[in-house]
Amino acid sequence: MTTAPAETAFHIQEPLWKIRLRIAWKGLKQSWALFTENKIGLVGLGIIVFFGLMALAHPILMHTVWEPNIYDPFIGNDPTILQHPSPPSARHLLGTDPVGRDVLSQLMYSTQSEFVLGLLAAIVTVTIATSVGAISAYFGGALDAFFMRLADLINILPFIALLVVLTAFFDFGMIELALLIGILSGFGGTTIIFKAQALTIKVKPYIEAAKVAGGSDLHIIFRHIVPNLMPLAFLNMMFTVTGAIFSEAALSFFGLLNLRMSWGIMINTTQAAGYLLGGWKYWYLIVPPGLAITLLCSAFYLVGRALDEVVNPRLRRR
Amino acid sequence: MAEKPLLSVRNLTMIYKTRKGPVSAIDDVSFDLKRGESLGLVGESGCGKTSVAMALLRLLPDNAQITGGQILLDGMDLTTLSEEEMQNVRWKRISMVFQAAMNALDPVYKVGDQIIEAIERHERDIDPAEARKRVEALFHLVGIDPKMADRYPHEFSGGMRQRAIIAMALACNPDLIIADEPTTALDVIVQDQVLRELRQVQKQMGMSMIYISHDIAVIAEVAERIAIMYAGRLCELADAVEIFKRPRHPYTVALMSAFPSIVGEKRPLVALGGEPPDLLFPPPGCRFHPRCPRALDICKQQQPPFEDIGGGHYLACWNPAPVAEVQS
C-alpha cells in the first residue's frame, strides 16, 4: 500500500503519515460536528468529563486540603464526630459512613477504579470482537462457524448468573473482572455485530483491489478491514463500559468481589450494616453511590447513542 | 383542445424546508393530461420528477410544502382537499407504480392480501370472494400465475414483483396511473416485456398514465407526449415525435444527442458541462443558463415563459435551438 515508486508523476512533498494524520483530523472534525448536533450526547460527555475530573481531583485533595487520617477512603475516621454515620456537614459534604469514613472521599476514590474497569473491559471486548469479527468474515467456513456458534452459546448464557457463579468460586479483583467481562462480551454478542459489519466491508472494491495488488490475508484484515471497523468499535466501547460498570456494581453489591472500595461496595456496606431499613434518614449513604453508578452508566450509554447516529447515517435526521 | 383534460397542473410550486433553507424542488410547473393519454416526464435524477408524482398524490414528506399552484383532477383542486378526502382520491382515482418494486410490497403480508386491502379500502361493501376473484383476474392480466396471490413478496422474482405492483395499481380501476421509473430495477429483457404489458393494459382500460424516467429511450416506447424537466422546471413539452424530430430547448437537444439512434444518421454526442444547480440557491433567470451553450444575457436575469410555440409544443427558452440543428 505504501510502496509507491519514487518516480511517480506528481511529487508529494509531505510525508505520508502527515497526510494520513490530516485526513484523520478532518474526519474527526466532521464527526465531532455531527456529534455536537446531538444535545443528549453532549450531556453524556459532560457527565463523563465531570466524573473524570472527580477521579483526578481525589489524589490532589488528599495531598492538599484533606487530612489523610480523616479522609482516607479506607481507614479514615473523624474523631471530632461522635456518632457515625453522620449527615452531611461542612467538614463532610456527603456525611460519613457507619465506620466514620468520608462518603465523598470514597465516592471520588471509587471513580478512578470504575474508569479503569470500564475502559479495560471495553478495550478487551473491542480488540477481541474486531479481530474475531474480521477474521470470521474474511475467511468464513469452519472458522466462522466455530466463532459464531461460540458467540451464540455465550449470548444464551445468563450473564449475571454466570458472573455470580464464577466470582463465588474464584477470587476476583477489579482487573480480573474487567478481563472476564471483556472476554465474555468480546467473544459473545459483540462479535456478531462486528462480523456483520466486516462482511459489508469485505465486498467493497478496495478489498478486491488490495487482493489483486498482492496483499496478504493478514495485511488485508488488519490494514483494510479492521481500520474500517474502528468507528463501530468506538461506539461499541461506550456500551461495554456501561455493562462493565453495572456488572461490577451488582457483584459488589452482592459482596462477591474481592475489592477494597467501589460504589457497589458502598451500597453493600450500608446494607450489611442495616442502615437501609432506616428509611430516608440515611439517604446520604445510599443516594450518592447509586446515583453515581446510574449517572456514569447513562452517560456512556447516551454518548454511545449519539455516536450511533454519527456512525449509522440511517438514524440521522435531515 | 375542446376536450376537458382529466388532469391539469397549474403553476405548481413546491419547496422542501431544510435546515440550510428552502429547496425549490418544483417551480411553476404546468401541464395538462387528457383522458387515456400517456405523458412521459423525463429528467436527470434530482430534477424533481418524483416530487411531481408525490405532489399529485399529496404523499410528500413532512418538510415539503406546496406553496403555489393547483392540481385539478376533473376540475377538483387536490391541493385544497382535506387529508381524508385525499385518502379517497388515492388509488381510487390516482394510483402509482413504484420506483423500487422490490420494496413496495410489505414483506410480512401475502401479495394477494395487500391488493385486497386496497380494494376493500375503496369499496367497503365488496364481498371478500369477489375481491379475491378480481385479484386473480388482475394477476392473469399482468401475466402472473393467480396462485401466486397466496405467496409472500420474498417468493417473487424481481419481474414478478413489478407485475404484482402493476396489478395492484390497476386494482381499483383508477383514472390515472403514475409509473415512477417502473422498470429501472429490472434487467433489460424483462424491462421491455413489462413496459409493453403496461402500455397494453393502459390502452385496453383507457386510463391516463404518467411515466417518469431518466431514460428517454424507455419513455419513447410508451409515451405519446413527453415533458422534459430540468432543476424543478419544465423546459419543453410536446408530442413524442415532435420532441425527437424537432427539439428546441438546448437541454432537450443535449439529451437527444446522448440518445443514439440506430436508424438515423450519426450525430455528434454533445456532452453537457457542469452540474445541475443546487436547488437551495437556484440560479436566477433560466435555471439552465450556467450550462447552456446558447445562453444570452437575458437568460441570466429573466425566467423564460413556458409557452405554446404552436401545435401543442410548449417551450421555455429565450434562445431556442433552430429546428434544423438536429437531423434525424
Binding site: I40, P158, I286, T294 | Q87, V89, Y152
Partner: protein
C-alpha cells in the same frame, strides 16, 4: 417451518450439552477438593483420605467423572444441598415456579408497554418530547437496578405503604392456610391459567390478522378484557382466592420495578426501528393506497418494526433472567436467582451448580420458544 423448528431443537440440545459441560468444568476447575477439609485433622490419616477420595470417585479421570455427573444430572439427581440437607432438585423444583411466574409476567408486560410507547413516540415526533423521553428512557435503561429497587421499596413500601416489603407471601396469613395448600400449587395454577389466557389471545390474534385494524383491535381488546375477566372471575370464585391475591399483591412491586427497568430498552428500540421502517417504500405504498394513517402505522409500520424489537428481546432474555437475581435479592423473592446467590455466598456448591443449571436451561428454553415465535412473525424465516 418444521425443518426450522427441528433445526432449532437440535441446536438447543447441542447448546444444552455444551452448557452442562461448561458448568461442570467451572465446578471442576476450583482449586482443591472436598478431602482437603480434613488435611489438618490428625485423626484422619492420609490413607483414609485416599480411601475417601476413591469412594467419592475423585481418583478417576476428569472425563469419567464428567459423564457420571452428567448421567446423574439427566436422571434429576443434582446432589444434596449442604444448607437445606435435602436433594437440590427438591429445593429447586419448589423455587422454579416463583421465578418463572415473576419473570414471565414482567417480560410480557415490559414488552407490550415498551412496544406500545415506542410506537406512539415514533409517530408523535416532537423535539421536546423526544429529548425528554429519550433521557428518561436512558435513565431507566441504565439505572443501577438494586439501588432503584431499594428506592422504590422506600417510596411505596415504607413511605406510602402501598405494597408489602419483601417476600412473596404473608407468613401470618399462610399459617392459617388449609392443610395441604402450598404456595407452589397456587403458583403453578396461576401459571397455567396465564398460559391458557396467552394461548387464547394468540388464537384471537391469528384469527383477526387479516381484518381491517379497527375491527381487529376491537376484537383483540375485547378478547383481552374478556379473557382477563374470566381468569379473574375464576380465581375470585375459587376457595383459595385470598391466598392467590396475597401472592399477586406481593408480586406487584417487583413487577412494577422489573417493568420500569426493562421497558425502556424496548421502547427506545421500537422508536428507532419504527422511524427506519417509516422510510421504507411499502409504507409509502400503503399511504398511496389511501389507507388512513392509523392503519399504515399499526398494520404496516408497527408490524414490520416489531421484528427487530422481538429479535432484541430474544437476545436479552437470558440477560433479563440473570438480572432477575438482583430483583429477587432486593425483594427477598425466594426464586432461583436468590437461591443461586445465597448458595454462592454460603459455599453450598451443589445448590450453586443446580440453580445455575436451572437458570441456564430456563434461559435456553425461553430462547427456543421466542425463536419459534419469531418464525411465525416473519414469513421470510417461516418459508425459508
Amino acid at each position: 417451518m418444521l425443518k426450522y423448528i427441528a433445526n432449532r431443537l437440535l441446536q438447543i440440545v447441542v447448546t444444552l450439552f455444551v452448557f452442562f459441560a461448561l458448568t461442570y468444568f467451572i465446578l471442576d476447575a476450583q482449586p482443591g477438593d472436598i478431602t482437603l477439609q480434613y488435611v489438618n485433622n490428625p485423626k484422619f490419616t492420609k490413607e483414609q483420605r485416599e480411601a475417601l477420595r476413591r469412594r467419592l470417585g475423585l481418583d478417576k479421570p476428569a472425563y469419567v467423572r464428567f459423564f457420571q455427573w452428567m448421567g446423574n444430572t439427566l436422571r434429576g439427581d443434582l446432589g444434596e444441598s449442604y444448607q437445606y440437607r435435602k436433594p437440590v432438585m427438591d429445593v429447586l423444583l419448589e423455587r422454579a415456579p416463583r421465578t418463572i411466574f415473576l419473570f414471565l409476567t414482567a417480560t410480557l408486560i415490559e414488552f407490550f408497554v415498551g412496544y406500545w410507547l415506542g410506537r406512539v413516540l415514533a409517530w408523535q415526533r416532537g423535539t421536546g418530547l423526544e429529548y425528554g423521553i429519550t433521557v428518561v428512557g436512558a435513565f431507566f435503561y441504565t439505572v443501577f437496578t438494586p439501588w432503584f429497587a431499594l428506592m422504590m421499596i422506600y417510596l411505596f413500601g415504607f413511605t406510602l405503604k402501598w405494597f408489602p416489603i419483601g417476600k412473596f407471601l404473608d407468613v401470618t396469613l399462610w399459617r392459617a392456610a388449609p392443610k395441604g395448600l402450598t404456595a407452589n400449587q397456587i403458583f403453578i395454577n396461576l401459571l397455567l391459567t396465564m398460559t391458557l389466557l396467552a394461548v387464547a389471545l394468540v388464537v384471537v390474534y391469528y384469527l383477526t390478522r387479516r381484518m381491517n385494524p379497527y375491527r381487529a383491535s376491537l376484537f383483540r381488546w375485547s378478547a383481552l378484557i374478556g379473557g382477563a375477566a374470566i381468569v379473574v372471575g375464576y380465581w375470585a370464585a375459587s376457595p383459595v382466592a385470598k391466598y392467590a391475591w396475597d401472592i399477586l399483591y406481593h408480586m406487584a412491586l417487583p413487577i412494577i420495578v422489573l417493568t420500569l427497568i426493562n421497558f425502556s430498552g424496548t421502547m427506545l428500540l421500537t422508536r428507532t426501528t419504527m422511524l427506519e421502517t417509516l422510510r421504507e417504500d411499502y409504507i409509502m405504498a400503503a399511504r398511496a393506497k389511501g389507507l388512513p394513517e392509523r392503519v399504515v402505522r399499526d398494520k404496516h409500520a408497527a408490524r414490520n418494526a416489531v421484528l427487530p424489537v422481538f429479535t432484541s428481546l430474544i437476545i436479552s432474555l437470558p440477560f433479563i433472567l440473570g438480572g432477575g437475581i438482583i430483583t429477587e435479592t432486593v425483594f427477598s423473592w425466594e426464586g432461583l436467582g436468590l437461591t443461586l446467590l445465597t448458595a454462592s455466598t454460603t459455599g453450598d456448591i451443589p445448590l450453586v451448580m443446580g440453580s445455575f443449571l436451572f437458570i441456564g436451561t430456563l434461559a435456553l428454553l425461553a430462547h427456543l420458544v421466542a425463536d419459534i415465535a419469531y418464525a411465525f412473525l416473519d414469513p421470510r424465516i417461516r418459508y425459508a
